[in-house]
Subunit: 104 residues, 2 copies
DNA sequence: GTCCGGCCAGATCAAAACGGCATTGGACGG
DNA sequence: CCGTCCAATGCCGTTTTGATCTGGCCGGAC
């Protein structure tokens, strides 16, 4: 399972359509189709129901969607938090971390 | 940023040593070294201090470590939750999801 | 001062993953 | 039956990842 697969999944779930999701992701349709399939294989359950009108979330997909969004948000948060800690704030900054920052 | 990079990071943080982390991850040392570097490049901040005795977490790394563990746990949770929803439970199961499951 | 051991990082090559294009196969409407 | 829309597959080139080998850096032993 990769973060790309999770992003693909969320987009397909939102669009209900692999082709449109691929456009939003700036990749071709087969790439999205394959990654969704791989994700389902790894989890061991179908996440979507394939219909001639597009893709519909199955119950496992609905559950996974909530988690997937949380994961993507957590990833962004993690990077932001590390970056924020990386910049050297001015002395006497309001962050509680300022007092436990070593000199090095 | 990839989940592998996050796993590599957590292991190196726990071991304080790229070589030992690589052993635990069943990959070679340079692979871990490169992924850690790539992660730092993407975030835009050094996460470790390189010393001749090993790797020590810098403040951004300490912050990132908490988030990283949460992400990995969330990924496992997501897969487990989807799988749990994927199995068809017996009628009258105690899960509240049972009542909103379509016939499939 | 010199040698040795541990550790991280770079270069190079091979394997795997990924994506794109072209195409197939299934369902629906005219 | 034919055109349209959608997802899935085959094939190929590109990108990414990892393994191996090698070098540089530092500390300890003597």
């Amino acid at each position: 399972m990769s973060l790309s697969q999770i992003r693909y999944f969320v987009t397909v779930a939102e669009e209900g359509n692999v082709g449109r999701a691929a456009q939003r992701l700036y990749v071709a349709q087969p790439a999205v189709s394959r990654q969704i399939r791989a994700l389902e294989d790894e989890i061991g359950t179908r996440l979507f129901s394939r219909t001639p009108r597009g893709m519909t979330l199955l119950p496992p997909g609905r559950v996974f969607l909530d988690h997937a969004r949380a994961i993507l948000a957590a990833v962004d948060d993690a990077a932001d938090a590390a970056r924020a800690e990386g910049v050297t704030p001015p002395v006497g900054a309001s962050s509680p971390a300022a007092s436990r920052r070593p000199p090095g």
